[in-house]
Amino acid sequence: MRRARTQARSRRLPANQRPRAKHRHLTLSCIPASLTVLVLAALLSAPAAQAGSRLLATGGVTQIEGAAGGGLSPWAVLAGTASDGEISTTASITQAQVDDYSLGMAGVAGNFYNRLEVSLARQRFDLDTLGGRLEQDIFGAKLRLYGDPLYNTWGSWSLGVQRKRMVDGDLANALGARDTQGTDIYLATSKLWFAAMGGRNLLTNLTLRSTRANQGGLLGFGGDEKSARSLVVEGSLGLMLAPSWVVGVEYRQKPDNLGVAAESHWRDVYVAHFFNKHVSLTGAWLDLGDIAGLADQQGGYLSLQVAL
């Protein structure tokens, strides 16, 4: 890990010689240099310095579309640990590798007073076997409507939107997608159950999403089989196993709009480690099913988050 970071840093120093868009796999060299520096600074800084006052890990990690959540699904909690009158920001990079594809994501999020979360993410999807690359930008906002996962009987409830725009929609159009941009709307609820399993705390999340996105938007929006919105369900569990470790599972239902490219529901099993309030690393085993005609895509996922 440390070696990888140093490599990533030294590789970036001659900024104009940076290999651009050449390599098909997203590597750590895609991390903005600033993030690398932030990670080092955050790992070295005193555990409580500058962080918001909410408890460790209560902002979850960054999900694949840039919102605070698990790996695949947004949760009702907001990014970072800001509470009343506080602001927190997070930056994250994620790399997922399944049999025939790789997905990279870089994102930033801001949390204002633990009321509003605003996020920006860029996804880069490489078709390793088929060839080609798809990219999409996602602007997200999440409003905490009510509650707190720790202190409220009914947990915390948030309403979110994700505005997605493909960088180049040719492939999606060719597959039969109706649009190259779209908006997801979701309602999420999160609740922490103290000492729920073997004395450990259990976090439960349920998200209801209205979406037209094909493979999260990477293959466009709407299709020949269905153009309208679908209502899909996402759920996840997280068990706080040992100090600073959480393990869990996630499930994310998906629409199936394209005749030529059947789409499956997503699943994963994850482990997250919080080094301190600033740095967390999440690893997961993904089962993404069929993607763009290639069956049974499984693989690994690694996500690094820095919070200020």
Binding site: G131, F194, P243, Y251
Partner: protein, 198 residues
């Protein structure tokens, strides 16, 4: 690879698969997925069922009584071994002692305690923990709403208190089970403590 070859590949691989496995199973909110949703929702409500119902809206004093009463019945209903599991009086006293040092070191909250009789607070707080964990104590001090009224507490302060108590429990070797149970019971006092903040 070009777009058309991707589609060709996709189409050929797909055709068989779609018929074999995917048709009818991957549409959102089909009967199968609906069942999952209902199961999840039911799971939620069953879990939620052991929690309390919202207090009747009958004014501040009524609300306070309701919140306190409901928190207490809920706590009474729970098992009686938490106090023992925590380690009884010696451990609770140690934890409270450690907790007070942490408060004193935290400039976000220490100012609340400048006029407080710390010896008195130490005893009443320990009694409260003993009582709430079904130990042989009866906390007879003011209600949580009254004890903290108009202090100007925010979530920041409440989180700080929870964090210090959690750290103190870990420091004094209380294991995850009883530690989380105790924190869970204290979390239920949140609404009462925060009831009368400006």
């Amino acid at each position: 690879m070009t777009t058309s070859s991707l589609i060709a590949l996709g189409a050929s691989r797909c055709a068989a698969l779609r018929h074999a496995v995917l048709r009818g199973t991957s549409y959102p909110v089909t009967s199968k997925s609906l069942a999952l949703y209902i199961a999840l929702a039911l799971g939620f409500s069953v879990l939620g069922g052991c929690a309390h119902t919202p207090p009747p809206p009958e004014g501040d004093a009524g609300q306070e009584r309701a919140i306190t009463a409901e928190a207490e019945t809920e706590i009474r209903r729970a098992d009686t071994t938490l106090y023992t599991a925590l380690g009884g009086k010696p451990v609770i006293d140690d934890v409270v002692n450690d907790f007070l040092y942490r408060i004193a070191d935290d400039e976000r909250i220490r100012h609340f305690f400048v006029n407080t009789d710390i010896d008195h607070f130490q005893v009443t707080f320990a009694t409260q923990l003993c009582d709430i964990s079904n130990g042989p104590c009866d906390y007879q001090g003011p209600s949580m709403a009254r004890a903290h009224q108009h202090m100007g507490l925010t979530e920041v302060h409440f989180n700080a208190i929870v964090e210090h108590l959690r750290a103190a429990l870990i420091e004094k070797g209380v294991s995850a089970g009883p530690r989380n149970q105790l924190l869970g019971r204290l979390a239920r006092l949140h609404d009462a403590v925060m009831l009368r903040q400006p």
